[in-house]
């Protein structure tokens, strides 16, 4: 098994290659405005570092967000087209699930990422691999409960979420290495249409901003 994984749902453009036992190579660049420019060169670099030809890839896993839409779509479009070009299957994984998995936490906790517009994307977990609520989008002060919370969305709004709840040393952004490891486990277990692996389609959570226009403005000055 060779799983190529990437996520573009946060400021991190992260790519990794996993063989079912370990991460062979990984590349992460934090740049919220250049997902489209950084992702394919990142894929190319990771395959080069691992000494793997693209034809050897067996599966693709991609973060499905939620995350800022323009960057998010880069990852999903890339996963769909690359999977078709290589003739392999592609799977989606909720980006918040990747952070939860990566945290290694066992008790109940929350994950939050930046949704911009002074809001966060968040979900609640019973453990590292078990999402029990969400994902949802809310103002940081409206994220319910008093559970420990991790992710860049918490770090951005310590006063609103309560600084004491923020888990010290937990990851802020998802890493493709964690995404690849989680996807590889699920694929190996045959759970390719379960709670974790989904179709590679975006989780938006908001409708597009658009208003039905009123009547045209008057141009005649009275």
């Amino acid at each position: 098994m060779l799983v190529l994984a990437f996520d573009t749902a946060t400021p991190a453009v992260t790519v990794a290659l996993h063989d079912g036992r370990r991460t062979l190579a990984e590349s992460t660049v934090i740049d919220a405005r250049r997902h489209g420019e950084l992702l394919m060169p990142g894929v190319s670099a990771v395959l080069g570092d691992a000494g793997v030809a693209r034809e050897e890839i067996t599966h693709i896993a991609v973060g499905t967000g939620p995350g800022p839409y323009t960057g998010l779509r880069v990852g999903l479009m890339t996963a769909q087209a690359l999977a078709t070009a290589l003739g392999v299957s592609s799977y989606g994984v909720c980006t918040l699930d990747v952070l939860a998995y990566e945290s290694g936490l066992t008790g109940p906790f929350l994950v939050a990422t930046d949704a911009r517009r002074k809001e966060v994307f968040w979900a609640e977990y019973a453990g590292q691999r078990t999402r029990v609520r969400g994902p949802a989008v809310d103002r940081p002060g409206d994220v319910p409960g008093d559970l420990p919370i991790l992710g860049y969305g918490a770090k951005l709004y310590p006063e609103a979420v309560g600084a004491a709840r923020i888990v010290a040393g937990a990851p802020e952004h998802p890493s493709a290495a964690a995404l690849a490891a989680l996807a590889a486990e699920e694929i190996a277990a045959g759970r390719t249409a379960g709670a974790v692996l989904t179709d590679p389609r975006p989780i938006y959570l908001r409708r597009p901003d658009a208003k039905i226009p009123g009547p045209p403005k008057k141009v005649t000055v009275l």
């Binding site: 250049r34 489209g36 420019e37 992702l39 394919m40 060169p41 894929v43 190319s44 693209r54 839409y69 323009t70 779509r73 880069v74 999903l76 479009m77 890339t78 996963a79 769909q80 087209a81 690359l82 078709t84 070009a85 290589l86 975006p202 938006y204 597009p208 901003d209 658009a210 208003k211 039905i212 226009p213 045209p216 008057k218 141009v219 005649t220």
Partner: protein, 344 residues
């Protein structure tokens, strides 16, 4: 020097600069398929293209449209010689979906990537219908987003801008006037239809910049003049006459300036492209005026004038056979890509 140049390359073109997800496949100058999925109906109730709606629709439509194009052309991805994609100008988020798909196809298949200029593609598409472009030719591109006069010595190697709109694009004026007249979006086809029952000389609407000696356009004053007319004469106006007279003002200026460009640069071939080139009155008046001065007119059929993937594939094919270097995987989607850049 290196690789032999393929004269009849098989190229897949991807267009997502606005609201059409276009996938075209060409072999040389031969069009194999032109598949378009449009989100125009989702935008109609907003009276214009909503970028986020368009971007979401591109992601949804991309793979089904690629599948359909390959099936109808009887081509496998592995057969392709190159992938071409609109890199700009256009809506940034919409362009990015097409560019991401093109990079993934190119990298996954190990084929060259060509990020191309949308306007140059509107010029190159005519080769699919009328054969090789005369060198040089003058091209007038008129759409909802652009109104440009171009000098095209060789579309694969460079295009010079001679003039463009200083305010609204021609198609934008059609959309805005349609709204004032209570006609649906997009306005062009509806005004064209309604105008057939009216007189183009009924109302003397202004011809912006018509005689200013430049090759630039202005349609904002015309749009306001129509709005004033409608406010003043609302109840009693003849909508067909308003539509026809507005349309006449637009196409009068467009054709005058296009022929002035031909005269000024001693060029006897004029090409008209872009969505507004589907307008029946523009096609008729351009034909009439070109004949008067001995200029040969080329206008692709309406389906090739509006945004589509075939035009991107056509330009890609031209670039491959001209030996132009492919684009890097690092290219951005460039919403304001200048016309002087044919490739990214």
């Amino acid at each position: 020097m290196g690789t032999p140049v393929k004269t009849e390359p098989l190229v897949l073109g991807i267009e997502t600069s606005c609201d059409e997800t276009g996938i075209g496949i060409v072999r040389g100058h031969t069009l194999l398929v032109d598949a378009v999925a449009s989100s125009v109906e989702e935008h109609a109730r907003y009276g214009g293209v909503v970028p986020e709606v368009a971007s979401r629709a591109h992601l949804e439509a991309m793979m089904p449209t690629v599948d359909r194009a390959l099936r109808e052309a009887g081509v496998k991805l592995a057969d392709l010689d190159a992938i071409a994609v609109t890199a700009g100008p256009g809506l940034a988020g919409a362009l990015l979906v097409g560019v991401a798909a093109a990079k993934a196809f190119a990298y996954g298949l190990g084929k060259p990537l060509y990020g191309v200029n949308h306007l140059a593609a509107h010029v190159a598409v005519d080769q699919l219908q009328h054969g090789p472009l005369p060198k040089p030719c003058i091209a007038m591109l008129v759409s909802g987003g652009h109104s440009s006069l171009l000098l095209v010595p060789d579309v694969a190697h460079g295009v010079t801008s001679l003039g463009s709109t200083v305010d609204d694009a021609a198609g934008e004026a059609f959309d805005k006037v349609a709204r004032v007249l209570g006609l649906p979006f997009p306005g062009g086809p509806h005004i064209d239809r309604v105008a057939r029952e009216g007189s183009g000389s009924a109302i003397p609407f202004p011809r912006g910049k018509a005689d200013d000696g430049t090759l630039d356009f202005s349609f904002s004053g015309l749009k306001t003049a129509v709005a004033r007319y409608v406010e003043k004469n609302g109840g009693s106006m003849n909508i067909a006459d308003v539509a026809a007279s507005f349309q006449e003002a637009v196409v009068d200026v467009l054709t005058r300036k296009a022929l002035a460009a031909c005269r000024l640069h001693g060029v006897d071939h004029l090409l008209i492209g872009g969505g507004v080139a589907a307008n029946s009155r523009l096609r008729a008046l351009a034909q009439e005026r070109c004949e008067q001065v001995g200029v040969r007119l080329r206008v692709p059929r309406p389906g090739l004038c509006t945004d589509n993937g075939a035009m991107v594939a056509a330009l890609g094919s031209e670039l491959v056979s001209s030996g132009v270097s492919p684009s890097e995987l690092t290219i951005p989607a460039d919403s304001s890509m200048p016309i002087t850049m044919v490739t990214a």
